[in-house]
Each structure stands twice: as structure tokens, then as C-alpha cells.
């Protein structure tokens, strides 16, 4: 569902920013909701960023602690995929 409302959400937030910045509409509940929505999206991004980074670090740590882990093998795979 969020995929379907994602585009209108982002568009609404951007429209509110443009309206308030160009002084077309500086007050009102629509602008307040739009600006708060924009910052809510930014906050979600911060959470996603922290989650994604910590999860990838966890995976990296888990991989390196595996008994069959070999840095030489990883370097070889790395060179091949490059």
C-alpha cells in the first residue's frame, strides 16, 4: 500500500515546500502538514540509514567470524567480480 501512496506523499511534501518558499501560500493547515511530512520523510531516511548501515556491519562481522572465512579467498572473489 505504501508503494502506491509513496509518490503522492513525496509530491505533496515537495509542493508544500515550493508553495511556502515562493510565498504563494505561507500559512494554513495544508502547509503545516506538508512541511511536517517532509521532515517525517527525512526522519524516516535517518532511521533507514542507521538500520541499513548497522545491519551491513553486522553481516560483515558475522562473515569474518565464520570458521571458513579467509581474507585471501575474499580478495580473490573481489578481484574476480571487479
Amino acid at each position: 500500500m505504501i508503494e502506491k501512496i509513496g509518490f503522492p506523499l513525496v509530491l505533496f511534501a515537495m509542493l508544500a515546500i515550493v508553495l511556502v518558499e515562493t510565498n504563494i501560500m505561507t500559512t494554513g493547515i495544508i502547509i503545516t502538514i506538508g512541511l511536517n511530512l517532509a521532515l517525517a520523510l527525512v526522519l524516516t531516511q535517518i532511521l533507514a540509514l542507521l538500520y541499513g548501515f548497522s545491519k551491513s556491519l553486522k553481516i560483515l562481522n558475522k562473515t569474518r567470524r565464520h570458521p571458513l572465512y579467509s581474507p585471501a579467498r575474499e580478495a580473490s572473489i573481489h578481484a574476480q567480480t571487479k
Binding site: 521532515l39 540509514l49 542507521l50 548501515f53 551491513s56
Partner: protein, 225 residues
């Protein structure tokens, strides 16, 4: 040989993206409420204006530091890896302009064009350049001046300082309007929901590479699609 995951970003790019994105997002959270206190004043009330300004400056320092680091890294990369490779992944090429025109024609329904992106599409290159020009150069310079305006008071008249404040605020809004579509593309779009993990793992699945970056995929695998 079957390649399941293909490297798209190196560890340096992942860390730089993380620090730059985190700094930038914190700058929005702490900066935009100062512009519109009548709509977002609750954030200032919740954290406190002095703390908000301190966090804003700290995040600004983080962004400027990472920008300087990446500039040095890029210069060294050009010297070591050669300009050809670096200019291909960073600077817009004629293929990017063709892709840009084709994508827009496709959106307008004029023609149905097959996507044939290289490692980084025109949109991704555009985004990185907007971050370099707007966030790092313009916001960075105006931010440093606004950080300690008394230091520049002897060189710059008051009217200039007011203009610089206005430029800093306006470009912050422009920057936010660039980041919001990026948020849509990596989190809310149909194929990426809830989030694209390639910027954290540094890899992309073979299938995704074939679908989204066919030109790059052909180049690295030698496969004819």
C-alpha cells in the same frame, strides 16, 4: 562462472555516503525548523534552540569534512587509477544526455525507449553533482560564513551577510527538494520498497544489474543481452 552479487560501491563510497547522508539529513531536521518556526516550531521547543544550533553546526562540520576527504580521495584516484575511468563514472557523457532525453520522451509517452544505463545513470550522476555543488560548495561556504559572521564582518558588509543567510536558506530548500525524490526512488518505489540495500552492502544482484544497468552488465560480464 555464475556471479550472484556484483560489486557496485566500494567500502570507501559506502562510508562516505553514510556520513554525508547522515550529516545532510540532520542538517535538514535542525535547519528547516529555523526557517519555518510557525509550522515546525515544535522541533525547536522539543530540543531547544541552542541545542538545535549546536547539532546543526556539528552536522555541517561533518558534511564539510567528508566533502574535503572525498575531494582528496578523488584527486588521488585520478592520479592512481587514471582519469578515463574516473571521468566515466562521475562526469556526464553523451550517452547520459541521450538517456536523459529518451527517459523524458518515455515519460511523456512520445516513444518507448529501452533503458540502457551504464554503471551510474544520468539521474545518479545528477544527484551526486547536486550534492557537490549545492550541499558541499554553496551550503558549505555560506555555512562557514554564517558559523562565525563576526570573523567576516571586516571583509563583508552587513547586507552581504543577510544575502548569504538568504542564499543558505534558499539552497537548503532546493537541496531538500532533490533529496525527497531520492527518498522515493530508494525507499518507496515499487521495486525498492522498503529500502534498497545496495548502498550498504556495496553489491547489487546480477538480475538487478541486468535489468537496471544493462550497458554496465554487458561490459563486466561480456554477455550480449
Amino acid at each position: 562462472m555464475i556471479i550472484l552479487e556484483i560489486e557496485r560501491f566500494n567500502s570507501n563510497q559506502i562510508i562516505v555516503h553514510f556520513i554525508a547522508a547522515l550529516s545532510l539529513l540532520v542538517l535538514y531536521i535542525t535547519g528547516i525548523p529555523q526557517l519555518y518556526p510557525e509550522h515546525l516550531g515544535w522541533i525547536l521547543d522539543l530540543i531547544g534552540l541552542s541545542k538545535v544550533m549546536f547539532i546543526h553546526r556539528l552536522a555541517g562540520f561533518g558534511l564539510v569534512s567528508v566533502a574535503v576527504y572525498y575531494l582528496v580521495y578523488s584527486i588521488l584516484s585520478v592520479i592512481i587509477s587514471g582519469r578515463e575511468y574516473y571521468s566515466k563514472i562521475l562526469f556526464p557523457t553523451s550517452a547520459d544526455i541521450i538517456d536523459y532525453v529518451n527517459d523524458n520522451l518515455s515519460i511523456l509517452g512520445v516513444q518507448q525507449q529501452r533503458i540502457d544505463y551504464d554503471k551510474y545513470s544520468w539521474l545518479e550522476k545528477g544527484l551526486i553533482w547536486s550534492v557537490i555543488l549545492v550541499d558541499c560548495i554553496i551550503m558549505g561556504i555560506t555555512g562557514i560564513i554564517l558559523f562565525a559572521p563576526w570573523s567576516f564582518a571586516s571583509i563583508l558588509p552587513l547586507s552581504y551577510l543577510i544575502t548569504i543567510r538568504l542564499v543558505h536558506a534558499s539552497f537548503a530548500i532546493l537541496s531538500l527538494c532533490v533529496i525527497l525524490p531520492h527518498f522515493y526512488l530508494v525507499h518507496l518505489s515499487q521495486f525498492k520498497f522498503p529500502m534498497s540495500k545496495s548502498m550498504f552492502t556495496g553489491t547489487i544482484s546480477e538480475e538487478e544489474a541486468r535489468e537496471e544497468y544493462p550497458k554496465w552488465y554487458r561490459e563486466i560480464t561480456g554477455e550480449d543481452l
